[in-house]
Each structure stands twice: as C-alpha cells, then as structure tokens.
Amino acid sequence: MLQKKLAFIFPPFASEYPDDAFTNLTGFDDCFKKFLAWAAEFADPELLQFEIPAKTFLQDELKTQYISYIQSCSLVSWFHQKGLTPAYCAGYSMGIYAALFQADVISFPGGLILIRQAFNEIKKVIGNKHFGMCSIIGLNQDDLEQLIQKENLNLKLAIQNSTCSFSISGTAEDITKVMVSAQREGALSTRLINVSVPYHSVFLKDTEASFMEFVDQIQFLTPKMPIISLVDQEILFEEHALKYEVVRNLFTSLNWYETQLYLQELGASRFVECGSGKGIVKNARFIEGDAISLTANSFTALLDSK
C-alpha cells in the first residue's frame, strides 16, 4: 500500500552496526541473509563473513558500502513484503544506490556494480593522495567558508545537514587543521568521518567522464516513485537525469537540509531512515516543520502498535 506521507531515506555507509537496529522487524534477519548471499555471489564472496557483533568490515570502505546497501535493500524488500511503499525516496550521499533500487530504477546487482565502479573511479582519481572528511557542528556556512579561506585550506563544504551542521571534504592534512580551527572559532563539535575519500567535492570531478560512460551502459528504468535529488532538490524522473545524478553525486555538494524541507513541501511528514544507524534521525531534530524522523526499527514498532 502506498503511504502518501511516507518518505524512505537511505543512509550512506555505516560507521557502526548496532546490535539492536532491527529487533522489531520479525524475519528481517532471514531477508538480510538472502541479500547478503546474493551480493557475495555477485560482488565479493568475503561478504559472507559479515557479522554484526564482530563489527566486520568497518575499516574497509568498499565492503562497508556494500553492507549498507545490502541492509537498505533488505529493508526495502522487508517493507515491501509487509505491503508498505513510500511515496518518496531519497539517498543521502552513497545511499543513492539504494534509493534507485527502492524506486525499481536498478536491480540489486545493478547497485552493486555501480558501487564497485564508483569506488574504482574514485581510486583512479585520488591515487595515493591522502584525503578525508569531517563533520562540524555549531558554525554556519559563512563561518566555515571564511575559516577555510582565511587559513587557505584545500577544503570544500560537501554536505549541509542543517543551518549549523556541515560535512567537509578535502586533503587529510587540512581536514585535521580545520577541526582544530573550527573548535577555536566556537564549533560545538568536530568529528573525523571514517573515510579516505573527499566525497561530494570537486576533488572527484575527474571521475565524471569515465563514470558517466560506465553508467550509460547500465539499464535504468522509469522510477516507480519520486526520487528527490540531494544536489538540487529536483524530482528525478528522466533516465539521463537519474544517471547523471549517480555520477555528479560523487563530485557535487549535497544539501540534505533543503531536501528535507522540500520533502515536507511535497507532503511527506514521516521520514524513515532505512539503514542500521540513526544519523539521519538525529540530524532531523534541527529541521523546521512537523515531520517526524524514525529509524526502521521504531517505525516498525509504531506500525505494530496500531
């Protein structure tokens, strides 16, 4: 059944795998195991070693991306079996691939292929250079841009999460510097993100041509529900727009703050974070409006209580 006010949001790769992420989802474990086995056969046999208590793969960026994608797709399938279809979907950062799967634009293996290729394209571009990302809370966009300019840092604002919460990409050295400077300037919190890639920034612009050529060979179907772009908050519908979204997602800054506001304008009032973490739910506290953000687990508990 289509839930008119429901939006599924797909998170990027996990920084942790909580033991209790899906306890309310009866039968989810079996569903996940099926997708995991499928991915192991298709993408990487080592994925079968994944175990939540062991915190497997958290230091392996590609495998962690696979696992997050597998978890998200398993949730899509699980909710689908329960007869639940969202009215909208969006992929936060590398969650774009699961959003495409949700909307039936790509197959499950299609997403795995795209993840692997994007990873390879990125590695070709960054080579042995050291990059990174951090999140800074408590400074606004002007503060951060001035800070970066003043200290002549090789950094870019990559994701805006709220008026005073940003992710920044750039050289590893300058990421370290900006975290110190931001605290001195009054940031309430700075945190190094566990990646070695400057996602959503111009540092990855050189992936564009080659990745586009690859994406063009993959079949993209018409989405069965609106997918909202985090780049410009447009509804993605045309095949070329969808393909280009996947490509530019690597090197263009994202605005999750504006995307949430736009989803509310469209009528979405309940956002469900379709992954194992709570990052999106936590961030949603700072968005104007009455929308409620829930983890998949708490959303399921809410449904069961009705």
């Binding site: 809370i137 408590g138 005073c164 919460s165 300037e185 009054g186 309430l188 919190s189 961030n283 700072f286």
Partner: protein, 102 residues
C-alpha cells in the same frame, strides 16, 4: 543580565532531565547530576545543540552558538549537572558569556 532564581534553576533542571530521558530513552530516575551524558546515557553533541535551541526559544536568548562553543573549549561539559550549570550561565549572561573568563 537575567536574574537566576530558584524557580529558573528548577525549571532548567526539569527541562534537561525530561529532554535526556526522552531522547536517550532512559527513566528520569536513572538520571542524576553526575550522570555522564555520553558514557552513561549515550547522548551526543547534537542533543546538546538541540537543548541550546530549546532554551534560546524559551528564554528569548541572544546568544550565538559559537560563543557557547568557545566557552565550552575552556569549560567542557560531561555531566548533566555541568550542563545545567552551563545553561544557567547562558541564560544569565547570554552573549557576554565569554566575559566570565576575563
């Protein structure tokens, strides 16, 4: 400069306790002045930020987040009691908070 009365102190305490009980899904009776926000109840900096916004609205405060951030560098908050004390200072001194260190 606002005057901090016993009523304000109690009001701030109630808001903080109820906020963390709700956000961290713990019983109010399990929260104490020396409860460590991160280690004991799994709180985070986003919660701190949200709480600041709640107090800014409630007391119509004129304070920039970065002023609080700068103050926090010298006076880090770890426990519920420290957080309440800082919120009271914010209500009392608003943007003049940093003058306390001069």
């Amino acid at each position: 400069m606002a005057l901090i009365t016993e009523k304000t102190r109690e009001e701030v305490k109630n808001i903080v306790y109820n906020f963390f009980a709700d956000e961290c899904e713990v019983e109010i009776k399990d929260i104490h002045s020396d409860t460590n926000i991160i280690k004991d109840i799994d709180g985070d900096s986003l919660m701190f930020l949200e709480l600041i916004e709640i107090f800014k609205k409630k007391y119509n405060l004129d304070i920039e987040l970065k002023t609080i951030g700068k103050y926090s560098v010298k006076h880090p908050v770890q426990t519920i009691g420290q957080l309440i004390d800082m919120q009271l200072l914010i209500i009392e001194h608003e943007n003049r908070l940093l003058e306390l260190d001069k």
